[in-house]
Symmetry: C2
Subunit: 430 residues, 2 copies
């Protein structure tokens, strides 16, 4: 049986977990892919503590040495970021070595260039680990559903935000408290912007939308709203509406293009989305023939992500051993056209949470403000016993498209009656 | 671009849907797999109506002619059953042609022999469509989770049974009514045994357990109970327990072997299993490193199953076009050892629904009967206003292993106080 030698560039959580799995069950993995996988080199800018590197592996400080090493057959990129990571992947492919990466930012920003290079070199570039951790959604899009025409891909793509919303729902705590708890448990970074403001989900959505619809999506064109303004009071109102709040990344193909955004949604309690709790992720696909599919699991963390890295590594190792290496299908990354982003996405109902000083005429003015945009109020919901000086209440409105809703909300914010900006939740029908 | 020529043996629902997709979007499929896919031959024992065969395809009555035809590169087997289907697959592989099959019965009964032949011939035998229709659970097990050690695979594998249970739950109807409705809608066959008695789910579970745990599982060794004895009254009790009833196929690795069965379960309303409604399927995997994953979608029907057939066809066509055809990984089907089936699976709580003629001393005798087996009652539940002459009520018991529970239930049935056999539901913890 041949041996395939792996170099791991970026020896952090995911890189170490990958090496650990390879060391823990070499026989099992060899039996599955027909080749032995051996980590022969790792690299990291900071020193690796004694005993922490894989047995027998050399430890480099400079990734160039790892990529150039004659005893590295496949390069695993787990450095993160887009600068060094891009250079590593380019150098490895140029040197004729297949690459596996877990780097969503790299794919979202430079996926096209890198997959084009891989195709030119006739080499596989595996990125199952880049989106939704251990959930095999790249294979689902690139292989399993390839015979269908998809019209929607959406889901919960950020475990940190979902953990925070789950805590707020189950324990009645406010956002800052739940965030601090997430940070204490290592689910959120010291600077949580990327996770709680929806940017991480946006980058993942850009990758999924490319694969689903076969065209380029610049992440900067995706409308994003995070969860910082969701309050414990919203959880109370959500419960009264028999619903939960989830941060949903969604891309939906319509006649005028793709409606694409990352936003908090109000989802019915008895829906699959509402059952996704804690740090879990879920991806939904809707196809002409497949109907609705859902893929659920842990979307981050060293171990699940490493299993996804392994799935690519084992596939490439089997091909290397069988002498049949080839570029992988990369639908959407070989396209030269941008996906049309819909300027007028389909109307949906919305939840508006407003905080006012309750004075005669306020509600009438707010209602008139919505009416001026042609928006019909569905109903008004107010918890009893709220202070009149700072009264949070909820208006739900009949279906209206997102751009119009955003304009109307901006007008309400500007009119001077609100003590806080409107919180807008997209409502998913029961 | 090269053309890969497909012969479809068995031109029924799935075979026709496969041909239709290939005819409807040839460019898209060619772009995805780097080869044109063309149906050049179909065969069916009964005549194919004019205009119903793919354009340009020859129609055979005898599958031998289709398999032997020099312009068939890949054979799709959608005949069903195990006799002719087995002969078709053997003949095609022997003739050096890759095969794609949607046939769970064939895989469960002869998978080992056929995958061994495929390996010897160095040919792929794709069977993504054989389990759970369009849900890519074979890829999830064989590729995506290959780097992890799984300890459980379970789920809802029969859409007909799930449709019936969903109807009974939502509309309060009895089993025969829901079954007739399923038959009217084409979800259930005239003889529904295979679906409602759990045999279909059992065959699929045997395939999944082989892939998950890497050993042979004879379907005949899997304990099976279907849903015929579930009544509208059970749905009432389930609601009071904030639960739903689902037919669950489950294999769980323990110290003494694999605990494996197909049984109705009582699952909490707020669980992913309870959200699986109608004809949908869901498969859960639990792994050491992946944690819990779930794959959800339509588990049967021509279109979703055809998309799964296509996923295998496109992968094989890409390999054929690239000159790198090889046997696919088939973990669990190359093993020569049987999986150890656990004689004493881990204890779980149970729901017992009993129908008695309510006379003094009956409950005491039933309780004593359970106590004689060392089984502790958790609580007793009785709807008000039931007739004393035919009183259905529920006992839930503290965790006890399945064999012991079955013995105790058999003893209750034999004791003479029950008007119907005990209905046993395994309770899933909230």
């Amino acid at each position: 049986m041949s041996t395939v030698r792996v170099g791991i560039a970026g020896y952090g959580t995911v890189g170490r977990a990958t090496a650990q799995i390879l060391a823990a069950q070499p026989e099992r993995i060899a039996a599955r892919c027909g080749a032995r996988l051996e980590v022969t080199a790792v690299c990291r800018r900071t020193p690796v503590a004694a005993g922490k590197a894989p047995v027998g592996a050399r430890v480099y400080r400079d990734w160039r040495e790892l990529v150039a090493s004659p005893d590295v057959d496949i390069v695993v990129e787990t450095i993160g970021g887009t600068d060094a990571a891009r250079a590593v992947v380019r150098a490895a492919l140029t040197a004729g070595k297949p690459v596996v990466t877990a780097n969503k930012n790299l794919l979202a920003a430079h996926g096209e260039e890198l997959l084009e290079l891989a195709a030119a070199q006739r080499l596989p570039l595996g990125y199952e680990a880049a989106v939704a951790g251990g959930i095999p959604v790249i294979r689902a899009l690139a292989e399993s559903s390839a015979g269908d025409r998809l019209h929607a891909v959406y889901g919960i793509l950020n475990g940190t935000a979902n953990y925070i919303l789950s805590r707020m729902e189950s324990d009645g705590v406010e956002f800052p408290f739940a965030l601090a708890e997430a940070q204490r448990r290592g689910y959120a970074e010291a600077d949580p912007t990327w996770d709680v403001d929806g940017l991480d989900a946006r980058d993942k959505l850009a990758i999924l939308a490319r694969l689903a619809f076969g065209g380029r999506v610049d992440p900067a064109r995706i409308g994003v709203m995070g969860i910082r303004n969701v309050t414990a009071m919203d959880m109370v109102y959500a419960r009264r509406l028999e619903a939960s709040i989830r941060l949903v990344a969604s891309a939906q193909l319509g006649e005028s293009g793709v409606a694409i955004s990352v936003r908090p949604w109000l989802v019915p309690r008895r829906s699959l989305l509402a059952q996704v709790e804690g740090v879990n992720n879920a991806v939904f696909l809707e196809g002409e023939r497949l109907g609705t599919q859902m893929f659920y699991g842990r979307g981050a963390g060293g171990d699940p992500t490493a299993v996804a890295v392994l799935s690519d590594l084992m596939e490439i190792a089997a091909d290397l051993a069988g002498g049949k290496l080839a570029a992988k299908a990369a639908a959407g990354f070989r396209e030269t056209t941008d996906l049309a982003i819909s300027a007028e996405p389909p109307p949906v109902p919305w939840y508006l949470r407003l905080v006012i000083r309750d004075r005669p005429g306020v509600l009438a003015r707010l209602a008139a403000g919505l009416a001026a945009h042609g928006i019909n109020i569905d109903f008004v919901l107010q918890e009893p016993g709220m202070p009149k000086e700072r009264l949070p209440f909820v208006i739900t409105v009949e279906p209206v498209s997102e751009p119009l809703m955003l304009r109307a909300a901006a007008a309400l914010d500007a009119a001077g009656d609100l003590l806080e900006p409107v919180l807008l939740l997209r409502m998913m029908p029961a």
